[in-house]
Symmetry: C5
Subunit: 258 residues, 5 copies
């Protein structure tokens, strides 16, 4: 679970609700408005369904969930594991790696190891794992595109909702005392749109992009390591080839540990 995301969402909503409670002196009822939720939520959802295909639209939920829940293994761990596998491969041959596979939770790594066990050659592994990485990137970039579209769509439907409220209110302005209340109700819609876009859709799209970059680097490192093992490199060389992906600071930390 990504801490910054959870913290950001929770603290963000606490700040917003706290301010609402303070500003409205406790009478927060007006900020809870079913038609406003229907317009902003419904409109954005429908526009997203029109823009994308049914499958892409339903896919975004699982992509986002995965981003929030799945933790990318720290690069140091991947290197350490791969160096171990290289040692096993050297000592006992590729078949001995088979008993390591059930212990692995990352399906990408276990796929790579399975190919080693099956005796696939370096270029075949390179191709297949590379395709897997590209496919992951496409799914993530589609998710980011959908979230960005929702972030642009929500404020627009919020405006549609506010306009409906304003027109309704203005068209039967008999009682001037009701003007204030009518405008307040209309503006709640704008508030919903601005809040959901800026606290959820836009930053979640950004996080998905960051997550995709980090996962790509992690997968590229594993691919590099598996290929090195397939080529028969010794454990030290496998580790060095994977370290090229790390920044200087990280690399020194690893050296210190090893």
């Amino acid at each position: 679970m990504d801490l910054a995301t959870a913290l950001g969402v929770i603290v963000g909503f606490v700040v917003i609700i706290g301010t609402i409670a303070y500003e409205s002196h406790g009478s927060m009822g007006i900020f809870f408005n079913i038609p406003a939720i229907a317009i902003v939520g419904g409109g954005t959802t429908c526009a997203t369904m029109i823009h994308f295909s049914m499958r892409q639209f339903l896919g975004v939920v699982s992509v986002v969930k995965k981003t929030l829940v799945v933790k990318i293994a720290p690069p140091q761990d991947s290197i350490q594991k791969m160096v171990n596998y290289a040692a096993i491969n050297r000592r006992d041959g590729a078949l001995a790696l088979e008993q390591e596979i059930p212990k692995i939770r990352d399906p990408f790594l276990s796929k790579g190891l399975q190919m080693l066990v099956d005796g696939a050659d370096e270029h075949h592994i390179q191709d297949l794992l590379g395709q897997e990485i590209q496919y992951m990137e496409e799914r993530h970039s589609m998710g980011k595109k959908i979230l960005d579209f929702m972030g642009a769509s929500a404020p627009s439907f919020a405006m549609v909702g506010t306009l409906i409220g304003l027109v309704s209110m203005l068209s039967k302005m008999e009682n001037p005392d009701e003007i204030g209340k009518g405008m307040a109700t209309a503006l709640v819609c704008t508030f919903y749109g601005a809040l959901i876009a800026n606290l959820v859709f836009i930053p979640m799209g950004g996080k998905l992009g960051q997550y995709s970059k980090a996962e790509k680097m992690s997968m590229e490192m594993i691919k590099e390591g598996v290929c090195a093992i397939a080529k028969g490199d010794n454990p030290t060389l496998v580790g060095e080839k994977m370290q090229i992906f790390l920044s200087t600071k990280h690399r020194e930390a690893i050296k210190a540990k090893v």
Copy 2:
């Protein structure tokens, strides 16, 4: 018929009209405003006609209609068919494919098959079908450009209409009771522009882009398959060459079926 698009448009309008009915307590008359429709619809149409040529402007309707109605065949079906054709070609020669053509509904596939029957060589097929794909892409990207322009133009003409309403109302503000009604009428125009742009033009432009990408992949697969048959590849190889276009998940599903 694309389900997500149909559902999105229908549910979207139901949500909007439902909110209007709820907010206006049933007196929805003010939301139906002929001059506002004239300004937003007429202005956007005229600006689009000035921006594009007459032929491009009229073409967008047919492109959109096709996007909504024509269903792209699932890649698995295309592969299955092509593997069959390859088997027929192997067994009975290219001429035997002629009786398959009348059964095909996709004009691109039937064109490819006709070329096989006519004995065209691989490079010729590659060139001609490639050109066909490029031409389809250009038509679709022009349609997307027009829809995007309409999505930007509609809110602008909505503002023009609202300004006309406001200026008219303000210039003869004798009866303060009429201010509210006048402003409501003026704002209906802004509402139309925001609604049509965000629920129709912009997401439809996006869907056209998605559709174009999917159709391109489908056509590229068919081109690849026809070329493989022309080269005399065996049915298995034809199927494998076409599967390169599919993601890993899809590919496994196909293997499982075959």
Copy 3:
């Protein structure tokens, strides 16, 4: 004369003026406002003069006029003509083409033919006509850039004008009855800016871009044809080389006619 542009501008203004007449119940005087015209027109013109050079600024008028008035010959006609010239060249030699030149209205085509008569070789023609095409493109893209800038500038100066009106009105708000009229006058300026930008400048810039693309294709086709004649290709080959620029549909229409 481009029909879509003329129709778009005329119908567009008819719709706008019709709505004004309807909304203002005939008292349209307030919508005709000299200071507003001065600010929007003058401001946009001055900013454009500062942004571009004097020569570029004056050039945009002629480019736009040409776009509206000059009709690009249909590609079929160009091919037909060029096939004829190729036949004459074959039968009677290049000098016989000289008597065709006075009949030609397109200066680019007549320049190409003159080079054939003068006996210029293929590469020289390619270079010179290519340069001519590039020069045309630069002029058109500068025109598009100026129109786009005017489309962005007009609403800004409209806002400047509206602000002048609002400040003046608010600073001497003795008679509350005059507030409405003052605001109406101020908003007319915003109306002018939005209208001229969205119905004239922005779509005209777009049309210029479309026109430039079409003219480029037409000129490239002529260049290709003239070069083929200079190389001594037979009429059929000249026609085929030019047809490469056309889409499949067009090509079949030509075949049907020939």
Copy 4:
């Protein structure tokens, strides 16, 4: 001095001030507002100082001044001069060019000539003058970037100023008669920001870009000519090599003159 720029700025301000005089019926005092000038001018200047370095910030003034005052020599003159130098070089040797240098006002041309006198070879001249051109372009593009930033910053600080005015006015709204005047004062700030950005910063940034392109072409032509002289080309060839930079129209005008 660039005529279009001068005319644009002067006529632009005359139109604005004229409209103000007309709209405010002579009482223009409210449009002259020291705090508004302080916020828009001071805020924009400070933000620019934070964004860029001190040296870049001070450099923009000299770049803009140069753009307005220095006139780029017409290409025909450069060609004529260079043809003369080539003739002198041929007749009397490179050293005879030394007495031409003091007559030259353009430092770039005199640098090129000095290199010829010093006997530098073609490639050395190419490198050094090319570097000089690149350095000029960088300075100009930095100037354009600063002006564009100021054009975006001015309206933002104008909004800040207007908000200060509005909040102050609203927080002590005892006398309703003063509301109008307070709002007018607040809006003057928005007016300043929109005016200065759209009549000065944005179009001046555009002009700097145009000027930079024109100066680059002029310098490239001189570089080409000096290199041709260094290579020992005859005067006619020198002239022809420089004419390649000119459009067809210009070239014919030169031919007619020569």
Copy 5:
């Protein structure tokens, strides 16, 4: 410490506070509003935490601090130092450089020198220092991305805050005298967002970009110099190789000094 940044921030806030003091006739209390600070500050911080990872978010502070405090050595000094090192290397061998390292404050330069002392060859130095430069650029560009995101996020949350204030105020508009005060309080939020974005986040992001470019040039020069020493170039050549990075003006100033 960068003078322009410090001056810009301080003068900027002095101008803003001065205008507030003048406009509000001393009663500045309304401009200090805890809930507004909570919404703008808290919302922007939370959205940034969601968008980026925890480590990136915390890293931006140190990057910005470094930009403000660390001064990039003038290129002339770097050249002078490197020429000295080259002379020492020539005279006394690479090991004699070891006693120079403790005197150096720039960690990049001292790393380069250490590699010389260790006898690393040219290509190894090129690779390692090049990687170091790339890593610095990535950190800076991430910092710029975060600041730009905050510059876009702050005005959005300011709007959210203003909407909360407006809705609260409008929903219990019993006392018309309080409307003004309520609106003033609501607008203070918008003011905060516009001010912090335009005076801090956006220009600081720009400055970080400028700083990154300058630091990159300085590091590239040092890399070039260290490589030249490793290759055994004489001091004059080392100086010349480094001067290629400088503009003509700078170069002449250095020649004059040397």
